[in-house]
């Protein structure tokens, strides 16, 4: 069954977005991308250290993937806009994940600055996917200023703690017409599947895959979990009941009625 996710005019057939940070080595990245099936891959921008130049990460992203640079390192809207424009100048295309963080302990996003950056970049032709704390009013505002999706966190970045913000994400999915993509905190394929069963449009995973014992195998596991979760959502999960409801007939074997 064809069930594409359409963002920024692009049809996506994989609902797993993959981050490229923290892999044990860059050579593993193309294998992980392929194993996961991801079509959207995030990257970051940093000042060059001329003493220790790094390899160009783009060389490790399979052709045909959509590159989504993030604005990590930005502490306000102005810096996020600057990073986004630089990434576009570097040939990354026009997708951008807005990430504005001024809190070092929990790396929670600054929703207010994120809205400002989203408005400016959407007006400048970017496909903007803002990373936010799940808040309905913020999500509505983001929709109003031209975001292509909203990306609420499940738990703090890199924490592998799963859908701690489950209830707030559920409300966003119910109330917002934009795709809701759960970003950050997903630590296990089961948690990714749960987000998809709830009706999330996609999930973005980095740490859980990159720091797994076998990142490529974990990428594959996440790909399957996301597909399973999406299929379950489309199938319509049965209702939760307080008491047992027999799956087999209880009458008609030895007695007609209890």
């Amino acid at each position: 069954m064809s069930d594409p996710l359409i963002i920024g005019g692009q049809k996506l057939f994989s609902r797993l977005f993959l981050g490229t940070g923290k892999f044990p080595n860059n050579k593993m990245i193309p294998e992980a991308v392929t194993a996961s099936g991801a079509q959207v891959v995030t990257i970051a921008l940093r000042r060059v250290d001329p003493e220790f130049p790094e390899e160009n990460i783009v060389n490790f992203v399979p052709k045909g993937c959509i590159l989504m640079p993030n604005t990590s390192g930005a502490r306000n809207a102005r810096e996020a806009v600057r990073i986004a424009r630089m990434a576009r100048a570097a040939g990354c295309g026009n997708w951008v994940k807005i990430e504005v963080i001024a809190d070092n302990r929990y790396l929670l996003p600054d929703n207010y600055e994120t809205i400002k950056a989203t408005e400016e970049l959407a007006a400048d032709g970017f496909v903007v996917l803002p990373y936010v704390s799940p808040d309905l009013m913020v999500a509505r505002k983001l929709a109003e200023v031209g975001a292509a999706a909203v990306m609420p966190l499940g738990a703090p970045i890199g924490s592998n703690r799963g859908l701690q913000t489950r209830e707030l994400i559920r409300i966003l999915i119910e109330e917002i017409s934009l795709p809701v993509i759960v970003d950050a905190g997903i630590g296990r394929p089961s948690q990714a599947a749960e987000a998809m069963e709830m009706g999330a449009a996609a999930v973005l995973v980095n740490t859980a895959i990159a720091t797994a014992g076998d990142p490529v195998a974990m990428a594959r596991a996440f790909g399957r979990a996301v597909e399973a979760g999406r299929a379950a959502f489309l199938a319509g999960p049965g209702e939760v009941q307080r008491y047992a409801r027999a799956s087999s007939p209880l009458t008609g074997f030895l007695r007609d009625e209890d």
């Binding site: 990245i29 630089m86 990434a87």
Partner: protein
């Protein structure tokens, strides 16, 4: 001549261009993004921009990230 390269003071020969700087620092010109006094400058114009005392150069590259 002193310029500010990625926030640090650096010494360069008068009349050097951005292209010269990229070569001198052994950076791959296909991978880096340059801001000259807070403006992004495209690679085509690197040879034409002669650095002046106290110019601010920021050089960036794409890295892994989530």
């Amino acid at each position: 001549m002193k310029i500010f390269l990625n926030g640090k003071i650096a010494d360069f020969v008068e009349g050097s261009s951005i292209a010269d700087l990229v070569v001198l620092k052994k950076l791959n010109s296909n991978y880096v993004i340059v801001e000259y006094n807070n403006q992004i400058v495209q690679k085509d114009s690197w040879p034409e921009i002669q650095l002046k005392n106290e110019d601010k150069i920021e050089i960036f590259q794409l890295v892994g990230g989530g």
